[in-house]
């Protein structure tokens, strides 16, 4: 050992520890902050309102937001690449319309669901192709898709179409018992499965790592020989698919199709992703953070409904304030790391 030290006295300084300027741990900090916030809000709710502390209250959070959970999965993929998808809400509305319309026409429910999913994915693919090959800003391309999907809703029908199909009604009413007095809906299970798959893809496949790589910006991912074109298109397909699936879950929840539904829902999804600690510039964030983001949004809504006297607009105000706080926080964290 001592001979080696004489041999190579410098021992390669600096290689052992990276520079102190960045802190690896802080990659997770935004997610941790969200988690702490969630727990704090739950704690506040629990001290103020009776019934807030129950486990079923938490499960209701999942039940009421299962469609949003699915939407944020797609949105997280897109934002991780540094893109954005504004068409989400419209695609949800279009999905409810197609489903309600076809069901009214007597199509079998599973075929209807398949068609809805195919339409959503195809729309996503078109958007992705336009973005990648014509180098159109994701903001613009998905804005166009947003108008297109909303327009198609009106083509189908101007009025709300209610759904009476037994399968859909079943899905809306079924409660899967989890224990004494606890139950969830099938939608929750679907949402959890989607989140699990997304987690696997993002963290355990080359495609997932390429998503992060694209978000790093520049030509690097391409020069490293990673499948950039395919992956960039794929994230929009995923987002389209998730929007359509979210739409299906939304019909399970509302049992109707309506052109004017889910207006601005894409913004809820974006808000959840950002509150979950994902950087809008791409390349950094976690799917589980986005899930926490959804729960934060859900708990704000719950608190405001428990409060009773507050109008529901307070939800928006609180979300707005929170978003601001989180963006400032992320900014601070990135500069503090310097």
């Amino acid at each position: 050992m001592s001979i080696r030290t004489i041999d190579k006295p410098t021992a390669r300084p600096g290689f052992v520890r990276p520079r102190g300027r960045f802190n690896l741990g802080s990659r997770y900090t935004p997610v941790l902050v969200t988690l702490i916030l969630l727990i704090a809000m739950w704690g506040v709710g629990a001290t103020r309102y009776r019934g807030f502390l129950s486990v079923q209250m938490l499960l209701n959070l999942l039940i009421d937001n299962s469609f949003l959970l699915v939407l944020v999965v797609g949105m997280t993929f897109v934002i991780l690449t540094g893109g954005i998808d504004l068409s989400v809400g419209s695609v949800v509305a279009l999905s409810t319309m197609i489903a309600a319309f076809l069901l009214r026409a007597g199509w079998p429910p599973l075929v209807v669901i398949a068609i809805v999913l195919v339409v959503g994915s195809t729309l996503g693919m078109l958007v992705g192709l336009v973005i990648h090959y014509f180098e159109i800003q994701p903001f613009i391309a998905t804005l166009a898709a947003m108008f297109l999907a909303r327009g198609l809703c009106y083509v189908i029908s101007l009025n709300s179409i209610s759904i009476t199909d037994p399968f859909f009604v079943d899905m809306a009413q079924t409660r899967i018992p989890l224990g004494p007095g606890l139950a969830i809906t099938p939608s929750v299970i679907i949402a959890v499965i989607v989140v699990a798959i997304a987690f696997f893809v993002l963290h355990y496949t080359r495609t997932g790592r390429t998503v992060y790589g694209i978000g790093n910006g520049g030509q690097s991912a391409m020069l490293m020989g990673l499948p950039v074109a395919r992956t960039r298109v794929l994230v929009y397909v995923i987002s389209g698919f998730c929007s359509a699936l979210g739409g299906v879950l939304f019909t399970f929840y509302t049992l109707s199709g309506y052109s004017l539904t889910a207006v601005g829902m894409e913004l809820d999804a974006i808000a959840a992703v950002v509150i979950g600690g994902t950087l809008l510039t791409g390349g950094s964030g976690f799917i589980l953070g986005s899930v926490l983001g959804v729960l934060v949004l859900g708990i704000i809504q719950t608190i405001i409904s428990f409060e009773g006297t507050l109008s529901s607009w307070w939800t928006k105000i609180v979300i707005g304030a929170l978003l601001l706080v989180f963006i400032v926080l992320q900014r601070l964290l990135t500069t503090l790391r310097r």
Partner: protein
């Protein structure tokens, strides 16, 4: 030296960009088991040639044969599959991912459908060990210095069992130890029959490692030579098309130590300046008109010290006085107000703005200094740009060229011009000649020496010790993030400084 058929045979390659003929009917071939250096000034077309071979740029005309068969590829991914492994000039890696991923992505070990993270880290560690690089493969790439990132890029390229290995200026931010480590690896790859393309502006390295040279000038082929059969002086002549005199001009010019005879207080004086986790407290003074060279190995704390002096990082201990008065520099902007400018080693992420023009990049710092509401008149901007384009020989000599379209060395010149334009009282240069060709390097050194003569203080960092010795009045040796010596540069030799760097003994 070889009778084998070439692995790579590029003939009559032409590539044009709007307004520039980057390559004009150039031939280039590579043989198995041979290191072939591509030589030429900044902007000669070396990197363009490489990108033609790896499918980044489509060729306008000509043919590329790989193993005698036409190479039909549309991008880097296919080039990799065809057995061509590349380290591009600028480090093109993903700073937001881990070191292991940067080495292994694209051929990551899997268990079933899932990436086997444990195996991936283990394999990455092995490859890094092969380069004698001791870093945590799970750490985020962006937390490492540029030199380490460059080594990681090399590690990525050599791990593939490639037929052809391309290294475009792989040594530009490495120092002696790393270079010899790299050469050891190159030699063993060579032995196993890999054809290696090497680009470097360091002639010593080129002569040490390569068997064959191809010289380009202004996008045209000058010729192909065997390294043994061409003298350096001839080679330089072929590269620049004329002899260089400036180089010898500056060599060991008498440099009187300023600090000793000076009556005045130093322009910048740091007492116990340090930052936890970054650098131990350092005392440093820089007098007016003095060039202080920082010498040390990779990770020895040179850049960290520069960042503390320039407000890029905040010190958490010690004091700094400027012009005799205590100051706290919390941001580079405050430093600029105090007339201290810092040119970063990392031109791509902390330097040039790729999408702006040459003119905009040059006037950027000056404009920021004046404040954004007092626009520098267009005429003045043009004058500034024109004078630096001429002084530093920036090519193409077009102030409206977009910087990302310039060759690597020319981008570096633009960055340098930006800080020179500010005319600071202290200029901190971190690897200012990285990737700059022999002729231009001498020009830049001369410029720095002249500026110092006129009263500007300079802190000069370079992995190339000869350069530090040639320019500095005083040399501060860093080791393990500490200052270990502060010596006056009178007849100091490279060998002496090397010993100081290695042993850290007080002089």
């Amino acid at each position: 030296m070889t009778t084998q058929a070439p692995v790579v045979d590029m003939t009559d390659i032409s590539i044009s960009f709007p307004g520039v003929k980057a390559l004009d009917r150039v031939n280039f071939r590579m043989f198995p088991g041979e290191v072939h250096s591509l030589m030429g000034e900044n902007g000669a077309g070396k990197s363009t040639m490489i990108k033609a071979l790896t499918g980044v740029y489509p060729i306008d005309s000509g043919s590329i044969l790989l193993d005698g068969k036409p190479l039909l590829i549309t991008g880097p991914a296919q080039a990799q599959e065809a057995g061509i492994s590349t380290v591009y000039q600028e480090v093109h890696l993903l700073t937001n991912l881990s070191v292991a991923e940067n080495i292994m992505l694209g051929r990551e070990p899997r268990r079933g459908a899932a990436i086997d993270w444990r195996a991936m880290r283990a394999r990455a560690t092995e490859i890094l060990d092969g380069l004698n690089l001791d870093i945590d493969p799970a750490s985020q790439l962006g937390t490492h210095s540029l030199a380490v990132q460059q080594l990681v890029a090399i590690a990525r390229a050599i791990d593939v069992q490639a037929k052809v290995l391309i290294l475009d200026e792989p040594t530009s931010s490495l120092d002696v130890d790393e270079v010899s480590e790299l050469f050891r690896v190159i030699r063993s790859l060579k032995e196993s029959g890999v054809a290696i393309l090497f680009v470097s502006h360091f002639l010593e390295q080129v002569y040490e490692i390569s068997d064959r040279l191809t010289v380009l000038r202004n996008g045209q082929l000058v010729g192909e030579y065997l390294t043994d059969e061409i003298l350096r002086i001839e080679l330089v002549h072929k590269m620049i098309g004329k002899d260089i005199a400036v180089l010898s001009d500056l060599d060991r010019k008498e440099r009187a130590p300023i600090s000793e005879e000076s009556e005045e207080a130093p322009f910048v004086q740091a007492i116990g300046l340090g930052r936890t986790g970054s650098i131990a407290p350092v005392d440093l003074s820089v007098y007016e008109g003095e060039v202080v060279g920082l010498a040390g190995l990779l990770g020895s704390g040179r850049t960290e010290l520069a960042r503390l002096l320039s407000g890029a990082d905040r010190p958490d201990r010690g004091e700094l006085s400027i012009g005799g008065r205590p100051r706290r520099l919390r941001t580079p902007r405050m430093a600029l107000k105090a007339r201290i400018a810092y040119s970063s080693e990392n031109r791509r992420s902390e330097g040039i703005i790729e999408d702006l023009t040459v003119r905009d990049n040059i006037v950027l710092a000056l404009q920021a200094d004046r404040g954004w509401f007092r626009r520098i008149p267009k005429k003045r901007q043009d004058e500034l740009a024109a004078s630096y384009i001429q002084a530093l020989n920036i090519r193409p000599p077009d102030p409206d060229a977009i910087v990302k379209n310039l060759s690597g060395g020319n981008q570096q010149k633009v960055l340098l011009a930006r800080w020179l334009a500010v005319a600071p009282r202290l200029l901190i240069l971190d690897e200012p000649t990285r990737g700059i060709d022999v002729g231009a390097k001498a020009e830049i050194q001369k410029l720095v020496a002249d500026l110092a003569e006129n009263g500007m203080s300079v802190v000069f960092i370079s992995a190339e010790l000869e350069e530090v010795l040639r320019l500095s009045h005083r040399i501060v040796v860093m080791r393990d993030r500490e200052k270990v010596a502060d010596i006056v540069n009178d007849d100091v030799t490279v060998g002496q400084v090397m010993t100081l760097i290695a042993s850290g003994a007080e002089s």
